[in-house]
């Protein structure tokens, strides 16, 4: 989407380099600037990514060989639990909130987020939640070893680490809800004159819909863990069968949050890719309106498919059929999106810089993850594959090849705009290829393990699974090391990158590229641009 516009006076000469009243660490603690807060979210996300990644290394080291070598089974369970929680709530979600903070005001021509102080608070809640999660390892009994889904009745039996985790989830949820309220208010009320909803870059649309999902879904998770807390300490029996409660009720409530959560992660990833692919195809996004409608359809459908995660708990066949058909229906709007991305590239003038490579990696691998999701949506198949490594492979294709690849695409794409410097293209491409190869080494083979019957969340396995597990573990170590290269590329860019032109990507056409200098000034669009 391109904008013919009055382009003068948006670079805010007096604002460049002005960081308010504080310097040093206090600048970051007290900042209300959306760009600062976006940067904080992104670095926090990276730290959590490395922390959760270290836990994945422990998991894969233990699974390198059959038998128990490195950690005891209880600690292994704590690792799988914390890896999931940290990656979902600490790494992926904050990464895309970081993108939202940086980009939404600039893409809609707003000076900042609607509630700048609230924005600061939304971020600074996160480190305390992360601290609670990490502290749970040092409590009697250690961190909860119940899986990231926190299923009852195990959660009712865990030690004090479970309480810390519940409070951490409360804080993370509060941060997400406040952030979402801020994003929705900003998009609805602060768009520049002429920036109608249907002219917004698709990234803003995907975040608008995601924010509504968060407002609707996060309180459900907060309710579930609060009920777990009262079951543990206040004599209720929501989920405790011994007191007349129902553990399966927890699963229903959790997945009523959990499936929208998948799209809370995926939709902003779609938004990033929808910015990157047109830029490197030098064509407008194909089917913009249908992309908006498809995103909305995915969001609505995400609320009526939750029980496909729990076909095996025992439910009426009509219930299984409903959730199976509803789930397969999601393939339609998702297919529209994939078609539109491919059609955008069709007859485009394509180049393959690092952001485009990651976007294409996303396109191929996320589609594969979506396809295995379709396989798992079929009740007779899922009953065989439930809780096997096939499921682990499936959701890592969605979460890593989907969300993480998209985040990498976005970081390489906007890094020149954010820092004013170009990253090392050769190293970026090496990072992509290493990540792609090692990712498939880890997770493609896990499909075979799952189909052969290897269950997830176990530290030991029969000898027959050894070869694929070894390949998967070697891939994991390579994948982890490759991300150190990513850190090096980013730091090298910040410290000694070549100066970036205003618009390094020829096909990029949203306001941050067309109306703002590179690097972007500290304050932007204090006078809204007039779009024609």
């Amino acid at each position: 989407m391109s904008y013919a516009a009055d382009t003068h006076a948006h670079d805010d000469a007096h604002g460049h380099g002005h960081h308010g009243g504080y310097g040093g660490i206090m600048r970051w603690i007290t900042t209300t600037n959306h760009k600062d807060i976006g940067t904080l979210y992104l670095w926090f996300s990276f730290i959590m990514f490395m922390t959760g990644g270290a836990m994945a290394m422990v998991i894969r080291a233990e699974l390198f060989s059959p038998g128990l070598q490195i950690v005891d089974p209880d600690f292994f369970n704590q690792m799988t639990t914390m890896h999931g929680l940290i990656m979902v709530f600490g790494a992926i979600m904050p990464a895309f909130v970081g993108f939202a903070n940086w980009l939404i005001p600039m893409q809609i021509g707003a000076p900042d987020m609607a509630f700048a102080r609230l924005n600061n608070w939304s971020f600074w809640l996160l480190p305390f939640a992360a601290l609670l999660l990490i502290m749970s390892f040092f409590t009697p009994g250690g961190a909860p070893g119940v899986g990231w889904t926190l299923y009852a009745p195990l959660t009712v039996q865990m030690g004090i680490g479970m309480d810390l985790t519940i409070f951490a989830i409360h804080i993370l949820g509060m941060s997400s809800i406040l952030g979402s309220i801020n994003i929705i208010t900003t998009i609805l009320n602060l768009r520049a004159p002429g920036m109608t909803l249907m002219r917004m870059p698709l990234f803003c649309w995907t975040w608008l819909i995601t924010a509504y999902l968060l407002v609707a879904a996060m309180p459900v998770l907060a309710g579930a863990v609060t009920m777990t807390l009262t079951d543990r300490h206040f004599g209720t029996s929501f989920f405790n069968a011994a007191g007349g409660g129902d553990p399966v009720l927890y699963q229903h409530i959790f997945w009523f949050f959990g499936h929208p959560e998948v799209y809370i992660i995926a939709l902003p990833a779609f938004g990033v890719v929808s910015q990157v692919i047109p830029a490197f195809s030098r064509k407008p996004l194909f089917g913009y309106a249908s992309m908006v409608y498809a995103t909305s359809a995915i969001a609505i459908l995400s609320f009526i498919v939750w029980a496909h995660h729990m076909y095996t708990v025992g439910m009426p066949v009509t219930g299984q059929l409903f959730f199976m058909y509803a789930t397969t229906l999601i393939a339609v709007p998702t297919g529209v999106k994939v078609f539109n991305w491919v059609a955008t590239m069709w007859k485009g003038s394509l180049t393959f810089e690092t952001p485009m490579l990651f976007a294409l990696g996303f396109l191929f691998l996320f589609t594969l993850g979506g396809f295995t999701g379709l396989v798992l949506s079929l009740v007779p198949v899922d009953i065989q594959l439930h809780d096997t490594y096939y499921v682990v492979a499936h959701f890592h294709y969605v979460m890593v090849a989907g969300a993480l690849f998209s985040a990498f695409a976005g970081i390489y794409f906007w890094l020149p705009k954010w820092t004013g410097k170009m990253y090392d293209e050769t190293l970026g491409k090496i990072h992509f290829w290493l990540t792609l190869i090692f990712f498939n080494m880890i997770f493609f083979v896990q499909h075979f393990l799952g189909m052969a019957g290897m269950p997830r969340r176990i530290p030991d396995y029969p000898l027959m699974f050894e070869t694929w597990n070894k390949i998967s573990s070697i891939g994991a170590f390579g994948f982890g090391l490759s991300q150190l290269l990513f850190l090096y590329v980013v730091l090298k860019c910040i410290r000694s990158g070549e100066p970036a032109p205003q618009k390094p990507w020829e096909g990029a056409d949203s306001l941050e590229w067309t109306h703002l200098p590179t690097p972007v000034p500290y304050h932007t669009f204090e006078t809204p641009p007039v779009l024609k």
């Binding site: 929705i184 309180p219 609060t226």
Partner: protein, 31 residues
């Protein structure tokens, strides 16, 4: 009250109602 505050209050009330509603449903109605 500004338009921004009104929007935020509507959204916050949706979140709060959902949170309280889900607990109340299983606390009061299923007991």
């Amino acid at each position: 009250m500004s338009k921004n505050v009104k929007t935020a209050l509507v959204l916050a009330s949706i979140a709060l109602t959902t949170f309280c509603g889900i607990i109340a449903k299983y606390w009061l109605l299923n007991s």
